[in-house]
């Protein structure tokens, strides 16, 4: 646009200058012509020879511009005339003042014919000025030049685009490709040493940097992964060692226990009529060894549930709970416990392990409602955030929530053994099973009002 404006002003200035020039030149030309005519006509006027004057005038037909000419005598009467193409024309009746005048599109010039300071007459020339034609011509040419200039400019900008824009576009294309293909090994080709070349260099060194960083991250990641694999292997190894340790310890611990019980019984048999105090002491030995055996069994069981592969299927928790409750009733016929099991209570999990969970929780509930006037045990579910939460609730002894975090640790107990006997392994086992199913377990309790154990099995709605 600025180019076009500049060009327009230039052309305009040139046109104005040239037209001024043209006007002056034409006027001067006509003036000279008139002078010449005047001086060449002096003889004809002096000798009053209109023929010679006409001859003189006829010479003007070489000048295309001149339409008409005339010679006036000293009295101001027409002496001789010339008209281009012999066209009849109106001539001024009297000669006008000396000089060149513009009359519309015509130039009119008068010149006195003077010889020896005596006015012999006047020369008159009338010529086409052609000023507006000139203007039109000029404007046409200027427009053509302008159009040509614009065309050239357009061509040049295309050329420039190829030189400047193309490399920038190719850098942009590479940048896009780096993002879409996620390939930082790409580089933009450098085609010149100008600003575009600098841009390309900067872009490429940025890619170098990114590539280096990425390689560093990948290396660190690989290292980390390797370390994790190594740690996992170490952990698995030590886990296996621990399991086989607890397995053989449990076995090896059981046999001396068996010997203690067996031989003390043998001793009892060998010595009939033992005093009652000795009998009581034998009983204490048996009870102690039985407790120890239970703990060893608990440990074995704990190791067992950690190791055994899960066989996951739909499990009818409701009927399992019913069976366990029935067993507890059979074992403890004097007790009346109200039990409520939610109908159609199902879960996805390992049937044997889930049975162990319910056994532990229900045995606990049964045990801890032993001193409760109207014992009640409830098994069911609550829904929370699309997750099924199973619970076993009782109105028994409960516990102080301050110790809730100790509940699930092996061998930790919240009640004295003579109050409520137990091994302290049951809930640890339950937690291990729940965790292996990808679930969580927690408890809520109020002392002397009851306890509720909640667990999830990592299942979501729609699974």
């Amino acid at each position: 646009m600025t180019t076009v404006t500049a060009l327009l002003f230039t052309v305009l200035a040139m046109v104005v200058y040239d037209l001024r020039n043209y006007g002056n030149t034409v006027k001067r030309d006509i003036e000279t012509q008139t002078d010449l005519l005047a001086s060449s006509s002096s003889a004809a006027l002096s000798f009053d020879d209109p023929r010679a004057a006409r001859e003189n005038l006829r010479v003007l037909h070489h000048r295309e511009r001149i339409n008409a000419a005339a010679i006036y005598n000293a009295r101001g009467a027409v002496f001789a005339t010339y008209s281009r193409g012999g066209v009849a024309r109106q001539f001024p009746v009297l000669p006008g003042k000396e000089g060149v005048y513009v009359e519309g599109d015509q130039l009119v010039a008068f010149k006195r014919v003077i010889e020896n300071n005596e006015i012999l007459g006047t020369a008159y020339i009338r010529a086409d000025y052609r000023f507006w034609q000139r203007v039109t011509d000029y404007l046409t040419i200027a427009s053509l030049v302008l159009i040509a200039a614009l065309l050239v400019a357009a061509l040049m900008s295309l050329q420039l685009q190829a030189i400047i824009t193309q490399p920038i576009l190719s850098v942009a294309a590479i940048a896009r490709e780096v993002v879409t293909r996620n390939d930082v090994s790409l580089r933009a080709p450098k085609t010149s040493d100008d600003e575009v070349g600098v841009l390309t260099d900067a872009f490429n060194s940025m890619l170098d940097e990114i590539e280096a960083r990425r390689a560093e991250i990948t290396r660190l990641n690989d290292e980390l992964e390797e370390r994790i694999l190594q740690r996992t292997a170490e952990l698995e190894q030590s886990n296996r060692e621990l399991e086989s340790f607890s397995y053989s310890v449990s076995h090896d611990l059981r046999s001396p226990l068996r010997a203690i019980v067996g031989f003390s019984e043998a001793l009892q048999e060998e010595v009939p009529d033992l005093p009652p105090e000795a009998q009581r002491l034998f009983e204490r030995i048996r009870a102690a060894t039985r407790r120890m055996a239970q703990r060893i069994d608990g440990l074995l069981n704990l190791a067992h549930v950690s190791r055994r592969p899960l066989t996951v299927q739909m499990v009818d928790l409701g009927s399992i709970a019913g069976e366990i409750i029935e067993e507890l009733r059979q074992r403890d016929r004097d007790r009346t416990v109200t039990t409520v099991v939610e109908p159609e209570l199902v879960a996805r999990g390992d049937p044997k392990l889930l049975r162990a969970v319910l056994e532990n929780l229900l045995e606990n509930a049964w045990k801890f409602t032993g001193d409760t006037p109207r014992p009640r045990i409830e098994v069911g579910t609550v829904g929370a955030d699309g997750e099924t939460v199973y619970f076993v609730k009782d109105n028994g002894a409960g516990f102080d929530m301050a110790f809730a975090d100790k509940l699930f640790a092996a061998f930790s107990r919240l009640h004295a053994n003579d109050e409520f006997p137990g091994t302290g392994i049951g809930l640890a086992t339950v937690q291990r099973i729940v965790q292996r199913h990808g679930g969580r377990i927690w408890a809520e309790a109020v002392p002397d009002e009851g306890a509720a154990f909640y667990f999830t099995l990592g299942e979501r709605d729609g699974r």
């Binding site: 397995y247 076995h251 059981r254 046999s255 001396p256 226990l257 068996r258 010997a259 019980v261 067996g262 031989f263 019984e265 043998a266 048996r286 060894t289 039985r290 055996a293 069994d297 074995l300 069981n301 067992h304 055994r308």
Partner: protein, 146 residues
């Protein structure tokens, strides 16, 4: 009763004595031979090695501890089941293990019965006695009917 031999394979002398006592108390009158490990039991049964000179009588029942030095109880059982002479002898696995795997391994190898040695010895004695009476008092040709 020499033809109604029962073999007890047990490495723990305490367990051996208690088992023997339980059997005696249950009035099991059969001759009871004791081996300390699987290798010795194998030699005893097939009259090899230091038992090369014993009267070639096959036991009518074997009480076999699962965990044994040298040749393990299950491996011994597999050897017995792989031999035509011994493949029908009733074998009762004795173990202090409650592991499902051990039990499955024992049954897979061809055990006829599996008793966990309980700590409460009276129960164990009862179980052993019942089994010993059951196997031991049966006709020796029971093995052929299996």
């Amino acid at each position: 009763m020499a033809d109604k031999l029962i073999l007890l394979v047990e490495d723990d002398p305490d367990d051996e004595e208690l088992t023997m006592r339980a059997l005696r108390k249950a009035d099991v009158a059969n001759e009871i031979a004791v081996c300390r490990d699987g290798q010795e039991a194998l030699e005893f049964i097939f009259c090899e090695g230091e038992y090369a000179t014993r009267a070639p009588v096959l036991p009518i029942a074997i009480l076999l501890d699962l965990k044994l030095p040298k040749l393990d109880g299950v491996d011994l059982l597999k050897r017995l089941r792989g031999d035509d002479r011994t493949k029908h002898i009733p074998v009762v696995m004795l173990t202090s293990s409650g592991e499902q795997e051990d039990m499955e391994r024992a049954y897979a190898a061809g055990a006829n019965s599996y008793i966990r040695k309980p700590v409460d010895f009276a129960d164990f004695a009862d179980a052993v006695a019942r089994l010993a009476v059951y196997w031991g008092s049966l006709n020796a040709d029971l093995t052929d009917r299996r």
